[in-house]
């Protein structure tokens, strides 16, 4: 079947979910490290933490710009409903990301003055607030948005509910876990040991959150419940919770045994599963519970033109992104600071 108007939005939904997943994972560990700053007070070790991400954070954040741009170009109906609906948390997130982003340079450039402390604080709070806002926006999308005639028609605080607060906290916890396991991989000595310790605690926290969100979500809307409980869907969705437990056990074991890379990969596995679960739940809605992908998408001519570029450019982008990660690979220790 060559019905472009039907297939293009599906292809784009997959690309968008992939872009969001890459963003969440990459900027997730940056933001996580920002939050872990609160636990690590030693200046030298803080510098090591930062130096593992300083060369790459900008590229990581660019995936978020891509997510926004794709939403704008391919699903303008969703862009135009979701952004006004989550106006306040999005503005708050942008402001938080400003503090987080400039802190990389400013804390170095003001080192030795009292102001350096302020930028460290901005880095921590910015990271934490950005993570919370992202989680609560995600939760808000699952929870649903009030729409009349294709435009947002709810109140400015509709998004703020116990469910979205739980989602916000879950994402904070998840990012911190990613950050801790990333540091286990990329650092040595005292810092690596404390990260191992934190990672264990955070894993327990995140597991609790995953369980709570998983049981709460199907209760929000009847179709969500059906998606997860009806035959034959069960066949396809059952592996998700099973794998969550498998990855959890693997994570615990690898942390204990002193593996350096496996914990990070397990945390990635968890994120991948949670995002898939989320996709399964809301599919095929772009703005639950009213607008589907097809209701919000731009004309096939736009989607097609953009697809041609994306299919050719994304492999190139991934290639040089991987290259720049490789330039800065390897453990960073307190002795070598930056280079």
């Amino acid at each position: 079947m060559m019905d472009f108007a039907h297939w293009l939005p599906i292809i784009w939904a997959v690309i968008l979910i992939a872009a969001i997943s890459i963003y969440v994972i990459l900027d997730g560990f940056d933001l996580g490290i920002g939050m872990l700053f609160m636990l690590e007070r030693d200046e030298t070790r803080r510098n090591v933490m930062i130096s593992t991400i300083a060369p790459v954070w900008d590229g990581n954040e660019t995936w978020m710009v891509l997510g926004g741009a794709v939403l704008y170009g391919v699903f303008p109906g969703a862009y135009a409903t979701l952004l006004p609906a989550f106006y306040l948390p999005i503005v708050l997130m942008l402001v938080a990301l400003i503090f987080r982003g400039v802190a990389f340079e400013f804390r170095v450039m003001t080192r030795g003055t009292p102001r350096a402390r302020h930028w460290d604080l901005g880095f921590m709070i910015g990271s934490a607030v950005a993570a919370f806002c992202q989680g609560s926006v995600l939760g808000g999308v699952i929870q649903g948005v009030k729409v009349t005639d294709g435009a947002f028609s709810g109140g400015s605080l509709d998004w703020l509910t116990p469910f979205t607060i739980l989602c916000g906290l879950s994402v904070m916890c998840g990012y911190a876990l990613l950050g801790a396991t990333w540091l286990v991989w990329r650092t040595t000595g005292v810092l690596e040991a404390s990260c191992r310790h934190w990672a264990g605690r955070l894993a327990i926290g995140l597991f609790t959150c995953i369980v709570a969100v998983s049981f709460w979500t199907p209760l929000l809307h009847a179709p969500y419940l059906r998606r997860w409980t009806e035959w034959p869907n069960i066949l396809f969705v059952a592996p998700v919770p099973v794998l969550v437990i498998v990855f959890g056990l693997l994570l615990a074991a690898s942390l204990r045994k002193g593996h350096s890379r496996v914990p990070f990969l397990c945390a990635l596995g968890w994120f991948f599963l949670c995002l898939s679960g989320l996709g399964i739940t809301v599919w095929p809605y772009a703005v639950p519970p009213t607008l589907t992908l097809w209701d919000v998408s731009s004309p096939p001519s736009s989607q097609f033109f953009q697809l041609v570029g994306t299919v050719t450019l994304l492999p190139i982008i991934l290639t040089y992104t991987i290259y720049s990660y490789r330039v800065f690979r390897g453990k960073v220790s307190e002795a070598d600071g930056y280079h």
């Binding site: 891509l66 926004g68 704008y72 862009y79 030795g112 003055t113 800065f328």
Partner: protein
């Protein structure tokens, strides 16, 4: 109720103008500086002269700060279309959203991907590869400019679209016509030159400051300072006249495609031949008259049509509700042009000093060059205000009104976000500017260090703030 809606709308406009006005300063800086850095590194590789490497390392520190501020303020822009102009983004998204996506994929990733290597990779990759990374970042900023200006120019002079009768969406018909719309080439050239000019004067002012300081301290200025000042003044002398030429061509294009904007820029009410060029005046939108006008006879027709009796448009040709607010752009336009002429004069003056071999020894000239530090950025902002306010009352020229583009966001949220943006921008970008100024207040040294943070203490003004460094050293000991 109606009233609250009006205020929310005004705030949405003001907020967008404020955030994009702050943003554009950094991209302009990044575009010019990245190109300058690529040239410096290229010269170093070609000649092996230490001075070019020193200058490269000196300016890359400023670049990392400017670029970081550009990224975070740009992130706000990418989401603000949806938060503030949801109806616009829904209708025009199939065109402007796609162009923005191409910008992300062809430019932002490239800049970000190679920035890490450029800033921290000097000792990790070979010289050739490092130079390639610098070039990629520079090219990335230029590509970024190209896409965003295509998008903006399409909003000024839309082409290649159809309008969906069902929902009013703009449907792309012909992508080449959309991208290469009539005002795009002019805007691209004019903006690119503006970025280079802004940086030329910023670099020139830094050089001038150190020349003056060396003179005050009775020593001979160092080689990096002289080289940077000389390079900047070459740029000023070459680019400023080109910019005036480009601006003139841009004006002719505006006359053709956006005559109402041009009439408002000129403060002309009646369409006439043999029109004067007003040097000063206060356009009054109510009485339809420009008060206190001082003009040069015939010059208006001569500049705009390149003939003495060419007919120039007047605002009365257009219905009242389609006239842009003339008092704003009458002045923003004149400030831009005046600064452009001033920059050209400074450029020519530098040639005269060069011929007399007094380029590095004339304190009067150095003082003028120092005062010109913000001139490029000011002209650039005034230019954008002319362009954007002159497009009013439309977002997509002649097709979609600004008042019909706005999001259904309530007044209270708008007030909160506006306050937050103003406070945060003043604090963050104000601090950034402070850091930058102190950084450039330190003279480039021979054997300048890398952008590497382990050398942080000498990135900032070691000489001007010895106490701070001593204090931190004492703490460390």
């Amino acid at each position: 109720m109606q009233n609250a809606h009006e205020i929310a709308f005004l705030l949405a406009r003001f907020q967008f103008a404020f955030t994009v006005g702050v943003h554009i300063i950094f991209p302009a800086f990044s575009i010019g500086l990245a190109a300058y850095l690529a040239v410096l590194e290229g010269l170093w590789l070609a000649t092996g002269r230490q001075v070019f490497l020193d200058l490269y390392r000196y300016w890359i520190k400023a670049f990392s700060v400017v670029f970081g501020m550009g990224v975070v303020s740009g992130l706000v822009m990418a989401y603000e279309f949806g938060t503030n102009w949801s109806v616009f983004s829904k209708k025009a998204g199939p065109i402007t959203g796609v162009l923005l996506s191409y910008e992300v994929m062809t430019a932002f990733f490239m800049e970000a991907g190679f920035l890490g290597v450029m800033l921290f990779g000097m000792n990790k990759v070979g010289r050739g590869l490092h130079f390639a990374a610098t070039c990629c970042v520079s090219v990335g900023t230029l590509i970024s400019m190209t896409w965003i200006l295509a998008s903006n120019s399409w909003m000024q002079t839309p082409r290649g679209y159809r309008i969906d009768p069902a929902n009013g969406q703009f449907l792309p018909d012909d992508w080449l016509a959309i991208i290469f719309n009539p005002s795009f080439p002019f805007r691209l050239v004019h903006m690119g030159l503006a970025a280079f000019l802004s940086v030329a004067f910023a670099v020139g002012a830094t050089g001038a400051w150190h020349l003056l300081k060396a003179r005050r301290q009775g020593r001979i200025s160092s080689e990096p300072v002289r080289v940077m000042f000389s390079m900047a003044m070459w740029m000023a002398a070459i680019i400023a006249p080109l910019q005036i030429f480009a601006g003139d061509a841009h004006g002719l294009n505006t006359l053709k495609y956006q005559p109402a904007k041009l009439a408002a820029m000129e403060g002309d009410w009646n369409s006439e031949g043999r029109a004067p060029e007003l040097l000063f005046g206060i356009p009054n939108m109510k009485t339809e008259h420009t008060d206190y006008a001082i003009g040069v006879p015939l010059l208006g027709s001569l500049i705009l049509t390149h003939s003495l009796d060419g007919k120039v448009p007047g605002m009365k040709d257009f219905p009242r509700d389609q006239r842009p607010p003339s008092p704003v752009i009458f002045f923003s336009f004149r400030i831009m042009v005046a600064l452009g002429v001033l920059m050209m004069l400074v450029g020519f003056w530098s040639l005269w000093h060069r011929r007399n071999s007094t380029l590095f020894t004339s304190p009067a000239f150095h003082r003028v060059a120092l005062c010109m530090a913000p001139a490029g950025f000011l002209a650039l902002l005034c230019g954008w205000i002319t362009t954007e306010v002159g497009r009013q009352p439309w977002t997509v020229y002649g097709l979609l009104r600004t008042s019909q583009s706005v999001s259904p966001v309530v007044l209270s949220s708008m007030v909160v976000s506006m306050t937050v943006f103003v406070v945060v921008y003043v604090v963050v970008f104000g601090s950034g500017l402070g850091i930058l100024v102190r950084m450039l207040g330190r003279e480039p040294e021979e054997g300048e260090h890398d952008a590497d943070p382990s050398h942080a203490s000498d990135i900032l003004a070691t000489r001007t703030h010895p106490a701070i460094v001593d204090a931190s050293a004492a703490k460390g000991a």
